[in-house]
Amino acid sequence: MKNSVLRCLAAFLFLTALSSRAEITLEIVTEGSHQIPIAVLPFANDGAGDKAISPIVSADLVRSGLFSAVDTSDVNPAPADIEGVHWDVWHERHADYVVVGNVVQLPNGHLEARFRLLDATNQMARVNQAFEGSPEQYRMIAHHIADAIFESITGDKGMFSTRIAYITKQGNVRSLKVADSDGFNEQAMLTTSEPIISPRWSPDGKRMAYVTFELRRPMVVVQTLATGARKIVANFKGSNSAPAWSPDGRQLAVVLTKDGHSQIYLINADGSGPPRRLLSSGGIDTEPVFSPDGQTLYFTSDRDGGPQIYRVALNSPDAPQRLTFGSTYAVSPRLSPDGKLLTYVQRDEGEFHVMLMDLATGQTQAMTNTSLDESPTFAPNGKYILYSTEMQGRGILAIVSTDGRIRQKLTTHTGDVYEPVWGPLQ
């Protein structure tokens, strides 16, 4: 009954919040790295103005920090295929790669964008691929093309077609929002005057678990993105928080205070059945996160005094291993998708920085020079870390590449934005 009330409200809010404008603005700083020059030519029969696909492809590649855009504004007519490419022009402009494409309207009204990624050195096509979508999905079509180009050239998966989630706060109005990774197509999943924290995408990207204070104390809710339907999955006495999906999407590790102080439990993702306690300590145990194989749990605990990051094999829960030693305060562990890197937040001389640890060697490095960093989360290709920080008294989002060379800021027009989380590959 409670859930049905939540469900209909959420669905209503979801529908009223549709918008296709970028609500968060991107600013990119790339520090001293070589960028690959690429010429994305206008696509034949492309949409007009900001509905054109090829400029979005180009902007995506530049946003990655790994590419620079070669000027193509004087290309007319746009060649639909390799035959029409004037190689002398692109050699003169030092383009390593050239992209050509054309857009056709299919009988079902959909758009089909076919593109070729051309290697300028040997004048050959590396990729020849097409993506189809409804006319409203022109941005997503462009993001998929950029992903294919990015993967072909760098060997890493692209993340332009992925989505991010975050929370915005203006006055007392908080919203849980989902947007494309470039900040466009922002949609509010929930708007409330009460706090919302810890959104976490399900592994398939179809559901979101998060903590809401709407019923006056923290509870864990799972919401289906497509329908807006919500279900309370942890509503035990006290506080319910810090959901973490198991890799198969069937279970959630959560933090409950039903037996006293904050401890980690396992529940079914549909809220059925009783919670099973995973760990026991005299301190606060929180912020659980599963390893990609689901066998190991990383978490924050103050069992040894201040908060530090630990990991524990779930088949021997009595022998956790402490991972952080560099500071009196280390929190918010998150793993790279391959499980090899750990990002977290550490306090150093009163400042809170995003850190990166190579789990094989134990080597750590500070990734930021801001002072109030929070909630780092890996891009699904493991190459970027998205986090929140504070700038001029406002909460903003920022991105740093794991090699530290590329930095981006994502700011809203007003208010604060925080608790970012990067969705999975689609």
Binding site: P195, T286, E287
Partner: protein, 173 residues
């Protein structure tokens, strides 16, 4: 009893959501006004002396204080705030009908989830002292707001010090 709690819960959801779509605000308000007359005459018929549920406004000394402040990442009650806890303990013991919600809060630094746990510890530390004095469990409830409801929205030491606290909130006040 269960039903009342549920009704409250639903209203709070509606209230929470109604700030966005203005169309929905009318419904809960209408319900409230319809319900009010049923209770009002009852209250009027029973002007009997009610037990005091919270310390009177303007009371001085430790009982007039409602907040206990902490050091960064700490939940131990500092000596200077022990008289405050003692005074409220004495009040609760002598007023068994009164109830408090102990609300733990943190400053904006560090992780939201860890701070939620820390705020809970702060509230629990007050509860433990009160329980040791003999205050009944049924008179106390704890909740943590973590760093989500700062009293001072600033980003400096003064604001942080103000936000690291447990509030003693009496029901009915």
């Amino acid at each position: 009893m269960k039903k009342t709690i549920f009704a409250l819960a639903v209203t709070s959801v509606l209230a929470a959501c109604s700030s966005t779509p203005p169309e929905t605000t009318s419904a809960p308000v209408a319900e409230k006004t319809a319900a009010a007359p049923a209770h009002a005459p009852m209250a009027a018929e029973q002007p009997a002396v009610k037990p005091m549920l919270y310390p009177p406004k303007g009371v001085g000394g430790a009982l007039g204080e409602r907040s206990i402040y902490y050091d960064f990442d700490k939940y131990a009650i500092r000596d200077q705030y022990k008289p405050v806890v003692d005074a409220h303990g004495a009040f609760l013991l002598s007023h068994p009908a009164s109830k408090v919600i102990l609300q733990g809060n943190c400053d904006e630094r560090g992780s939201r989830e860890y701070n939620l746990g820390l705020g809970q510890r702060r509230a629990d530390s007050v509860r433990k002292v009160l329980a040791a004095k003999g205050v009944k469990d049924s008179q106390m409830e704890t909740i943590s707001f973590g760093k989500e409801k700062p009293r001072n929205p600033g980003h400096n030491e003064k604001a942080w010090a103000e936000n690291r606290r447990t509030d003693i909130v009496y029901q009915g006040e």
